[in-house]
Amino acid sequence: MNLEAVKSIYFFEMARTRRTLLQSVVSPVISTSLYFIVFGAAIGERIDQIDGVSYGAFITPGLMMLTLLTQCIGNGSFGIYFPKFTGTIYEVLSSPISMIEIVLGYVGAAATKGLMIGTIILATASLFVDLSIAHPLAMLFFFVLTAITFSLFGFIIGIWAKDFEQLNLIPMLVVPPLVFLGGSFYSIDMLPPFWQAVSHFNPVLYLISGFRWSFFEVSDVNPLASAAIILVFLALCMSVLTWIFRTGYKLRN
């Protein structure tokens, strides 16, 4: 194991976060505050509690997931795409490191950054609403595994993407609908039966529901199903990456 290399990549990526502190940290805080002002204060006032949870508190796990997913995919994909774009990837490829170590460095940094921002959002949210976490271990399980899984997913997108358009395609076009329709801002009980059924095909619903359950013990789906879904998605990403490394897909061809 080339630990020095993993550390180098990890801290190199984290340094990029430091350089873009304003964009990386301050902007999610501002957008979260906006959500709370609009949904929590303005609209939330007119919405009753959902499953015994105040609306402002109810949307907090969803908001955290929304940001976590977007951030992790963004960081995971950009971290590996940028060296591909500038050409500095040659150095990583010609270094004595295995692909697993490359992933540990890049994905580790992307997940760390996602978790940092998720935590900041949680802290920001607690300024607006009363929050309690019923199952802290379960909360950490969903929080950390989602961060890792979606950073891996981002990493795959970064390897696959030929240009900036492809790089942004999934984060911009696919993730927001999945998150918004995954019950970030509502319980799917509030949907007509048809859309309730459709929602069950949305993997993000399971993530948000499981995550919310760890806070308030209320959920749209069985928390175990949520845990299973995240593990399946993690396994899927790891299989795709294994295939990429075995074939050298788009990296060493």
């Binding site: 990029r16 010609s94 295995s98 061809n253």
Partner: protein, 308 residues
Amino acid sequence: MAPIVSVSNLSKTYASGFEALKGVSLDIEEGEILALLGPNGAGKTTLISIICGIVNPSGGEVTVNGYDVVREFRETRAMIGLVPQELTTDAFETVWNTVSFSRGLHGRKPDPTHIEKVLKDLSLWDKKDNVLRELSGGMKRRVLIAKALSHEPRVLFLDEPTAGVDVSLRKSMWEVVERLRASGVTIILTTHYIEEAEEIADRIAVINGGEILLVEEKAALMTKLGRKQLRVDLAQPIEEVPQTLLSYKLSLEENGQCLIYDYDTSAERTGITALLAALAEAGIRLRDISTRQSSLEDIFVEIVEAGQ
């Protein structure tokens, strides 16, 4: 002594179907400077990229110090430093950080003294805190060399290191190369500037169309293929070469104003004395005499054209 880098029957076909290397074999001795010459698209960069691990080979095998570059990549890549052709740098990093990053990537513990030495050797010390995008092209080239030297490699690849570099920087870069060679580092360089290869390389390999056309000691190559030409400018133009001089296979050029004589410097007799005597005997008056030796460039063009 076993070669430090051994390439055998290496082939590479890209996904597009382009066959960049067609069974290349090449041994590189420890401590030598090998110049890899070839026109654009000859396969130079592909060959280097496979040895360094950037591109997967389609067939054949490469070993570095006895280790296979695919199976035992940790051993081989730790020994290799690479300076790529393109000026690829992280725009927003400082010189110090990017060079230290390279050392870490190669699994070496931080060593500020070594990094300082490398930066000073390359006259980059006063730029260590500068962000890379602020540097000129020549400075970026030096940074790439510093990155390649950050982990103290035994084998250094320089892919077109002097492309777009001004004369004084080129000179100071060759001084660095000389120092590295003196410390025992094996250096493989590709270049378009044939006079450079002529000046610093121990051996020359010519590659074209994915095949190695020739590998030879530079000196041997120059004598073997290096012909000399004697040029005789005449005081009065002549219509044809006199009968008495036919055995010298002279060619008459520039409207009969000049005679060209090709001779072999390694032959026992060059025939110059006899030719000059014969010219005097034929009553031909001379205005000037000059000789010219074929350069590596002439040789290179000849080899590549013969291969086509």
